[in-house]
């Protein structure tokens, strides 16, 4: 995905065991933060004719 120009931080992978609630919340925070920095995704989005493409 990166290769075609999608920003690295649009895709996240992690391993969290079912006991690692803290890690889950931490990773969730990091992911949300990184994506916020990127701003809305404009790549790969299918623009439907009926939708506002603004």
């Amino acid at each position: 995905m990166e290769f075609v120009g999608l920003e690295e931080d649009r895709l996240h992978f992690s391993w969290i065991s079912s006991a690692e609630a803290v890690k889950f919340a931490d990773v969730a925070k990091q992911v949300a933060e990184k994506v916020k920095v990127l701003g809305p995704n404009k790549k790969f989005v299918k623009r439907y004719p009926t939708k506002d493409t603004e």
């Binding site: 079912s18 006991a19 803290v22």
Partner: protein
């Protein structure tokens, strides 16, 4: 039965009367929904035992978040209401009225046939040692405390900090091994606790991982005992990762003035005194039996060992001295998780042996409602949104969510419930489903992980297929985690409900396939573990076949002399063979090999070659007890001089009292021959004990014989440690060598000569032995074809890979196939027998069901779309897909629903889109994705 204690057991095997004291919980288990509201309100803080007292919990509590049952309890000793009669806040807060301050202890009497004792151990309390000043210095912690500090669910959320007031991150951590183990000077525990070396390495590695690697970890030890499966590799890797291993027992710790640091003085390998400063010291405390367990053993009239563990026989490893009472876990001796799992299964198997005649006699039938056929009906979805008291309702605007759900496609009915899981609401839901003629249900509430089965029962009660259901998680993953933004949480709840509705609309009723389990067992290998498995299976009433490639039962045990406990192995094996041969449920196939195996769990078919003739054997389950053999060494003059023997050859000579042994004045044992070498990087587990025992026997026979053991680490784990001490006391001389400086064996003037570097004296030592015994590695038998027939994985060393290294040591990921003995890993007799019984016991859990119901949520091939590329066959870890061999779609893949675990790996891998995943099909997941944005 929780909070309960056994007070007495009377009667005899097959008919025990057990008296149990059930202590009050003060919380009604049927009403508690584990929402945790009570904990927030409870004003009383108590030391948290679960976190080794490192933080606090409340007087109403659940020990840890994954506890089973997940129900709260009141700690009566600390509860203000119960001790002083005031407070009562939890009762006021509880949304379901589960608190009952008037709960009373009760005595329950049980009539049982067998008893399993699994009382566990307690960690050694190092407060008694003044040397380590555990109570005085905050930065001296036990390994258990350290473990909690490293844990993500621990008091520091996995962040490693010093326990002194500064709470800084440590830079240097020392681990002291054998605290409360292998020590009869300052405590009474002469045994080795068996697990501490490995857990110390693990903690050191994890601590380094947590702190990014620059943390210095040093482990101070006497012998490094990594004798478990794959443990030696872990040890080597830890060395590579920079964990330091220092062979020394530390005797002095001094505080460094003005700091919270600690100075350690020790004698190094070269005999020099060293000092080093550490920020934290971890005491690798041993395992010991709790006083209350010793009391219980006395009450039950169970004999204990010198270490206070349950006394058992080598050939009856879980049987206590009282018939009908078996034991498992650390009560049998200090042990790790996989060994405890083996014991647990073995104990269950042996306990079941006595119960076989009455199995299934006390079952009750369950009433079921016939399922309504909804085929061809348009979706009529009912959405129930739960308040969960204030748990959801306090954050999410539940009525609005329910209102919103009405606007979604195919939704015919919505409602909001106070507690969807309560019995009256369940009844109401059943009624509504019937009245409204709903055919698909969405419940937006807590989590499917705990409540899906409950709601599925409601569906079934209403005559719906239980898979026509989707649970939307608006509590654990919404209201509880977004408390500060109720609007956003409500918005999220609506999104999630929309996604759930979109998914369930595409759901079809799923059938659960039913499969008969063939009631015959096949055991591959007629060694000790195979025979032990056969015995348990047969005693529990199952027809059992032992397939043995040689012309006799007994395997490697036939070559052994005696056990460390003094039992003559030959006699014991003969007894076991006799009991196998005389059991009419067991059929022994000697001189037999397996040529091919078809089928799957419950329905295997083997093609055998028995004495050269073809035969077929249908079996429901199979046990791999294929064993191993001694490695043939090519070093230390083996094969070039008749006085250089392997351990097994030594046993033969000792059995026959051969002149080579009888006339010897000097004997040398060389350890780790072929083990713990780069090409065989594992410990063979049994050799240290075996050599020490043989050395002792030589000393007993001829006290003035010079007996040497050349070793790298002596690994006489558990109570085998007593032998090591006894051998030293008897004058056996132990000389340590390194892998880099192996002993050199030569013949000089017809005399054997060994040169080895003595570490203590730091010079070469020359010995002229009359006989040399090489402790050769144990290597697994080659069973590649069997592995292929049953699709079983093997590791680089050729041992089978079990289903789970810790929790499933005696079974395979492939259903219906079990594992025992040396084929799993080198092990001594008692462990091989225990695992044989464990494999049988695991097999019986399957056999006893007679038929298996599969999950409906499995993968299914559409043969028209299948391109036969075979990727599904190749990726599946459970061997569920295969190619059809006949019919119109021959050559296309099909998936056996019995073997499918529903993981979806094949579905995702299929390029042709030919595999459907019932319950998680592509269209359903796409529909959820499409529904993310309204």
């Amino acid at each position: 039965m929780t909070l309960s204690e056994v007070t007495s057991i009377s009667g005899e095997a097959g008919n025990f009367e057990v008296e149990v004291l059930k202590k009050p919980r003060y919380v009604d288990m049927n009403k508690c929904i584990a929402c945790g509201a009570c904990v927030e309100k409870c004003p009383k803080k108590v030391d948290n035992d679960y976190n080794a007292g490192l933080n606090k919990r409340k007087a109403i509590y659940v020990e840890y978040d994954q506890a089973v049952p997940l129900k709260f309890a009141i700690d009566a000793e600390n509860c203000i209401k119960l001790t002083k009669g005031k407070c009562g806040l939890c009762e006021k807060t509880c949304p379901t009225g589960a608190i009952n301050y008037d709960d009373k202890p009760e005595t329950v009497k049980l009539n049982v046939g067998s008893v399993v004792l699994a009382p566990g151990f307690k960690a050694f309390d190092p407060s008694v040692f003044d040397t380590y000043q555990y109570t005085k210095f905050p930065n001296v912690v036990t390994a258990l405390e350290f473990e909690r500090l490293l844990s993500a669910s621990g008091p520091t959320l996995g962040h490693l900090v010093k326990q002194s007031k500064d709470h800084e991150e440590p830079k240097k951590v020392a681990f002291f091994q054998c605290i409360g183990s292998r020590d009869i000077n300052r405590c009474d525990n002469g045994y080795c606790s068996s697990v501490c070396c490995m857990y110390a390495i693990k903690e050191a590695v994890i601590a380094k991982e947590h702190s990014g690697g620059d943390l210095d970890c040093a482990i101070f030890y006497m012998d490094m005992r990594t004798h478990g499966k794959d443990f030696e590799r872990y040890y080597e890797k830890a060395k590579d990762d920079g964990v330091r291993f220092v062979r020394s027992r530390v005797h002095t710790i001094n505080p460094v003035p003005e700091t919270n640091d600690l100075e350690v003085r020790y004698v190094d390998d070269q005999g020099k005194i060293q000092t080093e400063v550490f920020n934290m010291i971890v005491l690798s405390v041993g395992l010991e039996i709790d006083g209350s367990t010793i009391e219980l053993a006395k009450t039950l009239n169970i004999e204990l060992t010198p270490g206070n563990f349950a006394q058992t026989g080598t050939f009856t490893p879980v049987q206590t001295s009282r018939k009908g009472i078996v034991a498992s876990g650390a009560f049998l001796g200090p042990r790790d998780i996989p060994q405890s799992m083996v014991d647990a299964s073995a104990a269950a198997g042996v306990a079941g042996e006595g119960l076989a005649p009455v199995r299934g006699t006390m079952l009750k039938e369950v009433q079921t409602t016939p399922e309504r056929d909804v085929f061809g009906e348009a979706p009529r979805i009912g959405v129930f949104v739960c308040h969960c008291g204030i748990n959801i309702g306090g954050v999410v605007d539940v009525p609005s969510v329910a209102e919103y759900a009405k606007t979604l496609p195919f939704v015919e009915y919505t409602a909001d419930n106070m507690f969807s899981c309560s019995q009256d609401t369940q009844d109401k839901m059943t009624q509504i489903i019937k009245e409204q003629n709903l055919n698909r249900i969405v419940v937006a509430a807590c989590t499917p992980k705990t409540h899906e089965p409950l709601f599925q029962e409601t569906l079934m009660a209403a005559g719906l297929n239980k898979y026509m259901f989707e649970m939307v998680n608006i509590r654990n993953q919404d209201s509880w985690v977004h408390k500060e933004s109720p609007e956003k949480a409500t918005e999220k709840a609506m999104d999630l409900v929309r996604m759930g509705v979109a998914k369930v609309a595409l759901q079809n009723p799923l059938a659960e396939a039913q499969l008969q389990v063939g009631q015959t067992a096949m055991i591959v290998g007629g060694g000790l573990s195979g025979m032990a498995a056969a015995e348990t299976l047969a005693l529990q009433g199952y027809e059992t076949h032992i397939i043995e490639k040689s012309d006799r039962l007994g395997g490697n045990a036939l070559k052994l002399y005696k056990t460390p406990k003094g039992e003559v192995i030959g006699d014991k094996v003969a007894e076991l063979v006799e009991s196998i041969n005389s059991n009419d449920k067991i059929k022994v196939h000697l001189n037999t090999t397996i040529e091919n195996v078809d089928g799957f769990v419950g329905n295997f078919k083997a093609r055998l070659k028995e004495n050269g003739e073809e035969a077929f054997l249908d079996h429901g389950i199979a046990v791999m007890a294929t064993g191993g053999k001694a490695y043939t060494p090519d070093e230390y003059m083996y094969g070039n001089d008749p006085r250089v023997l392997t351990t097994l050859e030594m046993d033969e000579k000792m059995k026959s009292d051969d002149s080579l042994v009888k006339d010897a004045d000097c004997a040398v044992f060389i350890q780790c021959v072929g083990s713990r070498e780069p090409e065989r990087p594992y410990c063979s587990r049994v050799c240290c004990t075996h050599s020490v025992d043989n050395a002792l026997e030589l000393k007993r026979r001829k006290p003035d014989m010079n007996v040497f053991i050349l070793y790298r680490d002596i690994r006489t784990y558990g109570e085998k440690e007593y032998l090591y001490k006894e051998a030293r006391d008897a004058g056996v001389i132990f000389v340590r060598y390194d892998l880099e400086n192996k002993p050199k064996v030569s013949v000089d003037n017809g005399n054997l000569k060994i040169v080895v570097k003595d570490h203590v004296l730091n010079r070469d030592l020359e010995i002229e032995p009359d006989v040399i015994s090489l402790a050769t590695a144990i290597v697994p038998n080659t069973v590649n074809d069997l592995a292929q027939f049953y699709k079983l994985p093997m590791n680089d060393d050729g041992f089978f890979i079990e289903a789970h290294a810790k929790l499933g040591p005696s079974e395979f990921a492939t259903d219906g196939v079990f594992l025992a003995g040396i084929a799993h890993y080198p092990k001594p007799i008692e462990e091989a027998i225990a695992q044989g019984k464990a494999a049988a016991s695991r097999a019986i859990t399957l056999l006893a069901r007679k038929e298996i119901f599969t999950s409906g949520q499995v993968a299914k091939v559409d043969p028209v779309l299948c391109s036969s590329c075979g990727i599904c066959v190749n990726v599946c870890p459970y061997s569920a897909p295969s190619f059809k061999t006949e019919g119109p779609f021959a050559g296309k893949a099909e998936i056996n629903p019995v073997l499918c675990k529903g993981c979806g790996l094949c579905v995702a891998s299929c390029r042709s889109g030919a595999i459907h995943h019932n319950g998680f099909d592509n269209d359903q997941i796409f529909s959820q994705i499409f529904a993310v944005n309204a």
